[in-house]
Symmetry: C2
Subunit: 401 residues, 2 copies
Amino acid sequence: MSDTLPHAEGALQGIRVIDLTRVISGPFCTQMLGDHGAEVIKIEPPGRGDIVRSQGNMVNGFSWYFAQFNRNKRSLTLDLRQEEGRAILIRLLEDADVLVENFRPGVMGKMGLDDATLRERFPHLVVGRINGFGSTGPYRDRPAYDFIAQAMSGFMGVNGPADGEPMRAAPPISDMVSSQNLAFGISAALVRRERTGQGDIVETALTNGLISMMGYLAAEYFATGEVPRRTGNDHPMLYPYGLFQASDGEVAIAPSNDIMVERFLGALDMRSLLEDERFADNRRRMANREALREILNRVIERRSVAEWIEHLNEAGVPCGRVHDLRDTFEDPQVQAQQMTLELDQGAHGKVPTTGFPVKMSEAPAALHHPVPGLGEHSEAILAELGLSDAELAELRKKGVT
Amino acid sequence: MSDTLPHAEGALQGIRVIDLTRVISGPFCTQMLGDHGAEVIKIEPPGRGDIVRSQGNMVNGFSWYFAQFNRNKRSLTLDLRQEEGRAILIRLLEDADVLVENFRPGVMGKMGLDDATLRERFPHLVVGRINGFGSTGPYRDRPAYDFIAQAMSGFMGVNGPADGEPMRAAPPISDMVSSQNLAFGISAALVRRERTGQGDIVETALTNGLISMMGYLAAEYFATGEVPRRTGNDHPMLYPYGLFQASDGEVAIAPSNDIMVERFLGALDMRSLLEDERFADNRRRMANREALREILNRVIERRSVAEWIEHLNEAGVPCGRVHDLRDTFEDPQVQAQQMTLELDQGAHGKVPTTGFPVKMSEAPAALHHPVPGLGEHSEAILAELGLSDAELAELRKKGVT
């Protein structure tokens, strides 16, 4: 399977994925499958391909944004608007384990591949799908986008300063979460297929993924009927907790219970504050938060972030620097965890991407392929299907591949 | 397997999970496995159990926060500090497919279950593990917490107002993401086990999960060496995009390319703005963002959020209301997608929780068990292991269960 790189067996070795997805949600999912050893065939329209190929920061004519989501795949160009393109897709599906798509609801049906047809023709196939709002319900046909999913899931509404507007998270978090959900769902469906021989249709949605992550905030709303208020970086129920001002920047400190608070104040040599009636327990500390914040910052501003981090970690208090992305990727822990991965893109040079978040001991995630050029593997993949050179030339002439 | 509820077969039916996790990361993962049909045995210390049982909003003596993370599990109390408790854990592992733990590195070793021992004694077992920073590297022993992971991953640093401080997301997002990653990794390892008969050790970390989600922001840093700046709700590269002020609140509008921008301005009957040299292309619109924002808000404030949403969706422009959690859970789409799930907790009453984000057609996620009382299934599970009533009485006397 591997063209160019030393082969390491991943957990999903032997699983063949036909990938019709583009942009972020979908490509991130299939990349996770590929990282863990699945053979991923990315099908792209001839000409431009996935639009992300020409978006974001281009270096040596190569999109580093695209690289973030498309390693460990091979690329086959196929015009699915043409009958011949769809015929090849169907031949690929006959030998595939997984199909993933992120079209709007209805597009697969127009290609003659609605759910009933997929289930009947390819009973072993696991079909994975991501969309904005789910494929049933009143909004199923609405266009979706991460920003809208952040707004409508309630996620944006709980984030941000107490006195400010609702605040999005900058990364496209609904795309990423729904991709991770789909990678899980596809894998779980594959476990079942081993048992029953049957495929399944697995679906995730940008909004649903974020809603499932509301955790205790959802519990609070359900229990009280009151919507949780934005509290910025303050914890809604605990103090001290949050960002504090050291001499050279902000330090995040998160004592999550009374024992930790004692350790924290002990590390500041201010345990006596607990004898002050304003601060004797969490309820009173919450009521007098601003007074306590001022006292603590007065002490914390005397030393540097690095000094506090060393000192507080010694005392067993969860704390850390607020990293910008340079700090993050230069952090020795992040490097020890290999959370960057350098791709050798030949003439385009070396391209760093974020690394594998799921570590496995026996069958680790690995780099099997760098990011494919558009249609780089068309010839090889079509030859594997048994197409002759003449047939291939005919398809080329018609612009099918 | 099911005690009380009608049985639906899930994708992970027949997979037995021994769950040593507590708090959020870990319990969210094993709940996902349980939602999809795995049999999850939650092992808790006798007495207090998982500390979340007594945290958050308590209704009728029952934590609705705990309910968010612990449906579809059975509970067995076991004191793992006692030899007899560890002996029962080992008997359970002999018949288990998956073990999940979120202790600090080293705790399993102190129980006599370091990785080498686990691999040797239980070669078929898939071991899943979540921790703060990973189990290698200089920070492996540091205490972690979601707030710290948000700070150190770089996630907090890119979120927040352009002129304000770095901003956390309110949900414990690093816990949730690392749980989702682990559910994927465990399932992928189970796929491999079907093929090879071998288990694996799968690990995720709070920081690593968020780092892997930095997407184009990481690409931007890698490509330019510049750290991405906070831009609040504005997109760093596109305008118009973001929150706009309608007559009765904020509306999120996200035209992601020039075609969408044309549709958006057309829907406002202001397409002529594209002939204004300040706004003719995205680059110029970014340079004159505040001027354009003012013009657009002047039009948008004339109609209500609901009117704009209907009108813009008709025009194919991604848009939505900024929902608080009440709006979210009352939204007809969220209800159509069944994103709440009501648990019948007997004497504690009915308890709503968030629903299943991964939908499957043939083997859907389902409610197999409500949230277990502490040790509710101790007797049944120990009897399944073949313990006699006398042995059980002895264990009880010693406080092992």
